[in-house]
């Protein structure tokens, strides 16, 4: 029976925390691994082991007595996951999928190979290589540089508009992309189950904090033409089927001013753009991921309510130290407003400390609520 499966999760951040919360009612024993003893999910896992998910031996030792191993972050030791998979342990998403996605260069090559629309790109080895390509005219301003590995939450990404800005470019193996002419940034979560069934959540639109290059708000459903909604969903299914992956995959898109869609990038795990599914959809992204990796069929991805908006609670700029949530009580008393705090002890600028989901009957209602939250709640250092 599915609930006898022993599940191991690499990582214990907020995504792992919400995954563990979703597993509790099914009595699914979820065990976690993370180098940070006080990570948000640590106390929510059935058991928690402190250790690095990037370390080969640690991952082998952690995974070898599990039935299923999954991830909540992609920067894990995939060599170890390949060995676990060879031992007969189900590793979902599969190690080769994680390898393709954790290297933004390989990810782009996969899109090119499968004729998936994406920004034109070049791969460079280092800064000298990049400057040379600019000189030779292969790369033109403005462009986006993304370090191939270990980028996360807006880190490892820079926009270079002209020669003057070129000194800030990264000196590492990177992906150079043509800058998109963005109308809206969209995302969709797709799941694929062991029997090959797929399911797609409604498409969302993401609103960014320009300073931190981080998603600030997610609106569901996106206010876009039905044809764009359908294209996003079809592309997401196309990608997960071509990856041959089991689990959930978040796919981010640029909807450009000329009406075309480019796939930006994807993440083979629960995603920030799917938090609202907890309250807004019949099935949450966390339940769906567990369903996918435990051999269950997909849950209903439709919305229970007309609109949802997720507000990331980011640490205030210039505030570092033991956390304090100023104005929280006022937010708690707003109608149809759901506060999720991740239990991180310390705040720092733009750190994801929690999120709030708002439900409403119109887009205006939830956008109004989000503005009120932005003006009410401040995540600061605890007053002494």
């Amino acid at each position: 029976m599915f609930l006898q499966k022993k599940i191991g999760v690499l990582g214990a951040g907020q995504l792992g925390r919400m995954l563990a919360q979703a597993s509790a009612d099914w009595l699914l024993p979820i065990h976690g691994l993370d180098a940070d003893n006080s990570a948000p999910a640590a106390e929510f896992y059935h058991s928690f082991q402190c250790g690095s998910f990037a370390d080969y031996d640690t991952v082998i030792a952690f995974g070898k007595d599990k039935d299923v191993v999954t991830i909540e972050i992609e920067h894990v030791n995939t060599k170890a996951l390949r060995v676990l998979s060879d031992m007969g342990i189900k590793v979902f998403p599969q190690p080769e999928v994680i390898e393709t996605i954790q290297d933004k260069g390989l990810q782009k090559l996969f899109y090119a190979q499968k004729n998936i629309p994406t920004a034109p790109f070049e791969l460079v080895e280092d800064k000298a290589n990049l400057e040379n390509a600019i000189k030779q005219g292969h790369i033109k301003y403005p462009f986006v540089q993304k370090s191939r590995k270990a980028g996360y939450d807006g880190k490892g990404v820079i926009i270079i508009n002209n020669e003057d800005e070129c000194h800030s470019s990264f000196d590492c193996p990177s992906l150079i992309e043509k800058k998109a002419s963005i109308q809206k940034e969209l995302a969709v979560i797709v799941s694929r189950h062991e029997n090959g069934e797929t399911s797609v959540f409604p498409v969302v639109e993401m609103l960014f904090n320009a300073k931190a290059n981080l998603v600030e708000n997610v609106l569901c459903p996106a206010l876009i033409p039905e044809s764009i909604e359908n294209q996003c969903k079809e592309l997401a299914i196309h990608i997960i089927e071509n990856l041959n992956m089991i689990g959930i995959l978040a796919v981010e898109f640029f909807w450009q001013t000329d009406g075309s869609l480019w796939v930006n990038e994807c993440a083979p795990r629960p995603h920030n753009s799917g938090h609202h599914t907890i309250e807004a959809c019949y099935t949450s992204q966390y339940q769906q991921h567990l369903r996918a990796i435990c051999g269950l069929s997909p849950g209903d991805t439709r919305m229970k309510v007309p609109f949802a908006l997720m507000v990331n609670l980011l640490g205030d700029e210039g505030e570092t130290g033991a956390v304090w949530y100023e104005g929280l009580e006022e937010v708690m008393n707003m109608p149809k407003t759901y506060v999720h705090l991740y239990g991180k002890k310390d705040t720092k600028p733009f750190r994801k400390m929690g999120h709030v989901t708002l439900l409403g009957n119109t887009a205006e209602e939830v956008v109004f609520g989000a503005n009120k939250i932005t003006n009410t709640l401040r995540i600061i250092q605890k007053p002494t």
Copy 2:
């Protein structure tokens, strides 16, 4: 700020478990007390103390460093709660409310005093006293006998239809009620907050397992005339205001064949008739209870979806021992179906082992689903 409140809960059953789950996203530190180390909520509380909530010294020691003390079962030591309250600790529901409700005799006297419609009743001290009252014609067959204290989940309640059945009557202080002529059994959950605000959830109807005298299914909303819905809600508000209580209160009604309503009894805590609110309503009964006792205003009690039906998962008759959930995978794969298992190690006949909530667009859809669950899932002793 509300989230600095240290909350103590007497009891660690499934109600405490779901209360703790609801508190996690708010980082509310909830501490629990129960004599059973392996009770369903034990591992979900921020901290857990093993000890009897019926013992005076234990409750004092547990409660004295808390800001708020609440209950998930009413059979607690209220003398200790009175002392804690006198020490300035917020005890919600208040000790005097628990005392009124935990004694079914006092509860009935309260209804009579406040002109709340309820079955005509007599109080008797013991079996001899009962038999005497029958002889003298004060009590007529058929009647319902309820032991005044410690009744729970259908225990301590018996229907005596005639003289032949009278030998099974209880020999203890009890409440003797006229048997209702039931059209439907209804229930409603009302909350009252520190600022005096009240809120009411939609009225539900309860379907009983005749053998165990236990609720088997709860349908929300009840299929009843609007006038009955409104009467139930008004009575519930009238009761909680007259009790002057803070927290949530479940009120059960008999809707009689002549169209009149009788209050059956009430429970000053989260209740089996409100489990469906987790998925079906904008606010769950657990969130509402926390809101009430933490000084927050009421959340929206309306439904997100047209219909919900809760199925209690009761241990199969004749099955005792380590639990096994036969047919669970099939139920997990039903659409819009939410399984909640309580993590009890052992099953026994009619023990509440979990529940399933079904959501749907029509009453027929959810009733159909409930029948499928009843025919699919069996809670039995683990096959060897």
